[in-house]
Symmetry: D4
Subunit: 168 residues, 8 copies
């Protein structure tokens, strides 16, 4: 079995339905990943251990998804120099604005690459992880180009379908 | 020298002018405190060490002040069962709304008692710390009552001054 | 029957489903509490009486939950020097942002320790009350440590379950 | 000396520069008013006394100006059935949005008639008070019509001045 | 049949379910009112005519309810010197924050007394109208006191019911 | 002298410094315009008259600039079927978000074409007015293309200057 | 078959149900339009081609509807000097505030005429397009006047229905 | 001279003071970069050309900084599969919230890794670019570890200085 290159961390299994979008994309690109549950607040030591040891296990990118006062991505970024991608998973009274601000507004020195709130953000976290890995993997780079072409083709197909409907 | 009962933590000395309001109140009440600089993101291990060892050094309350994606209070709260009071220090493009959301929206299990953004919040963090300590210190309880009476007297004095001005 | 140490105040029984999260936590820790309905605006005298007499009845902490222009916690804090914890109960057109601002932005001198909007905040209000009482009750302090360990164990168990699912 | 018909309450003299706009309008209309400083949180009993006794002293309308978690108007409205007009005085980290929400979002049963944030709101509070009094004072009603005509004339004069400038 | 003293204006019948709360309160107090549909944007002339003629028909207070870019209250206030109460009816993508800002932020000179977003605001608009009329109608003033007592009694009854439930 | 094709309306001369950006652009394109001061709230009849008579005077587009609860554009749009462009002029406690919401959130049936808050929006209002007029004026259409090319050339010149600076 | 005068562009068919409101209005006015799907991000070249060629195909106005970080209208506006109308289609975690800001806050030089979030905005985009075309099409101008009269008549009919209901 | 590995794109030289923070960090790490001015709206073709040709010139990461309706990062991301980092440069009436939403809320398929608003975000964009390059450059990886240690040492030095001041 291939060693995972991407670690997806979530603080609670309530974030799983959102963050599976990232996992799905990574699988689609054939990038091995592992999804782990570890909370910034409830299991800080486990989170630090998972993060600090990540590079040695071959992890190249960490994706952290969390909601509300979402500290997970920042806490992870503090423990590693690997790139950390943050996904505000949304929900709650503030619909994810809290999580967005708590992730994106990192002070100078410790960046978190923040994606959109919710499933679109999780999907893009997966794609962005692939883009990072593709910098030194021409196979992945080629797959990204193909992925873009497929997306474009889908848009064009939908437009054609619409034109047909409107013409009839 | 008395052991400090309150630890005030700030992530950067740019938060000092705001958080000195808490220090000032504590001194006014004769409560020994220490102000330490340690960042959630830049010195996570020092922060964890300061926090985890706090109870043993006689600390009873921790006040954490931070701005932007303010994780300090939450990170501290994850490492101790002492009460943690958070102050969003404000400033930056979002004027402290980011810090407020990143502090107050803690998920269930690990509370941060959040105060107002900026100096009013820092002052109230100091008073709230005194209120906690006063639960088992009748001297402090008495000082709190006197403090309230002094505040009321000041309001009344200002009102009297205003009435005199308006009457003349 | 034990005297209550924590008074939970709500302005209307529509806040009950949210604030029962605080009650539940307190029961779990064996802390006697009473839940009272009294409004800042509809029964101001009763609210003042309940608050002013609280310390004499042995109350050590007051938790106030309210929505919209949530004045209850501030009004209570004005009548006592006991620590007051506020919970913006959420709901309404503004989803609790109104209640959050109306609670957390207290002016200097009269603090309200504000928790997250809704059920997570109510639960944390209960835990924070226990943390305050634990300052002079080593039994409670021990229970808090155990509670944290239980939370951590649950996270780890969920992670293990996830790993098993992903491996199969 | 005429008995005041309007009571202007402010919680702190820092609100004075804003609320003097209301006083100025009332003087312009020849409506006697008194400006009092009394805080919802620092002098709750004085605030309640001033409010509860207002009707008996001949007060017909109360204007309350406050900033941050502005409870003053709501606390006053809870103690009287006289109309209460609220002015979020603005300032602070949230520029008065906190005060606006804390005033306008009153729960059903106890209304606060809320004006704009800051000086425009204070001025309008004065005018609105005159509009209420004018319901049973035809002299005031006439002055209001004249005031509107003066405002319109000023706009027209400015437009004429602008046309002259643009034409030259 | 009594002449209406209060005119309730709505821009569209979609605002009816919200604004009936105002109508209900006025009926409860025995204050005759009329509910009219007239839009600031779709029937500006009718709106101006209804407003300008209101005082002559015996109307003393106008309540205007509208959503989105809610101009109705301001447009009405521009045509009369009667007191105008605004209710942001809520709904839409911005949940009534747009309507709140479009009502409450009136420039100096033409006030709109703004209530909370939605049904609570509509109810309070009705009560506030009664408070205005009660300034020169001692019967209404007495009914307001009784209304407040009834509200207080309901809160107390709910509290007693809760105590009984908790005790059993 | 040419008849104006564009009417720029402002509610107060405090909006003049912002709205002169629109005037400047129109002059640059040789489009005759007139700037008039007339308030939605203080001179509603003048505003209606200016608007209703606009088409007959040869006006083809109306630009309305206003701040706070900015009703001017909507009130104008209600009186004409000419295209109305709105500019939230900004300023005040809410920095123009109030004016933006009060302009852009027009209900179905009466559109206001809303531009950015402040000077950028005023400038774009002018350009957009030119774009409308260019639909039936090929001279203007040509000028727009030239304007775009000039803008592009300026960006390129700045980039070249920067490259030279960085290279030296 | 008539050449379309209005091009409606959407980035994804999920925006179709909203943007059909624009199409419906245009059909009602007898204005030929075409609805095309082309994304700013997924098919940038197709979007540029559709836009750049629009004027030559007889298109006079472009309506672009998009959600989230809605770049479509701005990207289109960069490629043409035809008037571009933007509709923030709403939905997502931020309910369309993101799309509104991403459309309306265009920098000086390249305007996007922004409508309300969601269906009301789409409908108004259609009406605004008709208003532009009516500048050089007196038939359309007459239809607009009739449309307004129909809208007014509907409001009046609803008011009459309400008066009848209330009277019975 | 070394080929640049990082392309920093800004839409206007007003963004230069903010984005120089990114340039500064890259220089500090010895990573060759080029700063180019090209606008999404004013020079769309140049922007597309710079982006599409970037990979061939050896560029591995693109950083795009923009304010207001900040489309630059998204437009760039649509033209390349290289990782794109976005910096909302802030300023304007909305203080950068508009730019933040217009960058971070990218729809699924085309990610933009968004940093904090303003200078802190620009600095972090530089660091994040280094983190990406360090995935295949162990020299850079070592420098990142040293950078973190230096940051930690600075925090500790400031804390020691504070302790000395407080002790004296």
């Amino acid at each position: 079995m291939t060693n995972p290159q991407v670690l997806i961390l979530i603080g609670s299994d309530s974030d799983l339905p959102v963050m599976e979008e990232a996992e799905k994309v990574l699988k689609e690109f054939g990038v091995a990943c592992e999804m782990r549950i570890s909370s910034a607040h409830r299991t800080p030591k486990l989170t630090a251990a998972l993060t600090a040891g990540a590079a040695d296990r071959g992890i190249k990118v960490i994706i952290a998804g969390a909601g509300m006062a979402a500290h997970l991505a920042g806490v992870v970024a503090a423990e590693t120099t690997l790139p950390v991608i943050g996904v505000p998973t949304g929900g709650g009274a503030l619909n994810g604005v809290d999580a967005l601000y708590a992730m994106v507004q990192m002070p100078g020195g410790v960046p978190v690459a923040t994606m959109a709130i919710g499933k679109a953000g999780a999907k893009n976290a997966g794609i962005f992880a692939v883009q990072l890995l593709a910098l030194s993997d021409s196979g992945l780079a080629g797959k990204l180009v193909a992925y873009r072409e497929r997306m474009a083709a889908e848009v064009i197909a939908r437009d054609e379908k619409l034109q047909t409907e409107r013409a009839s």
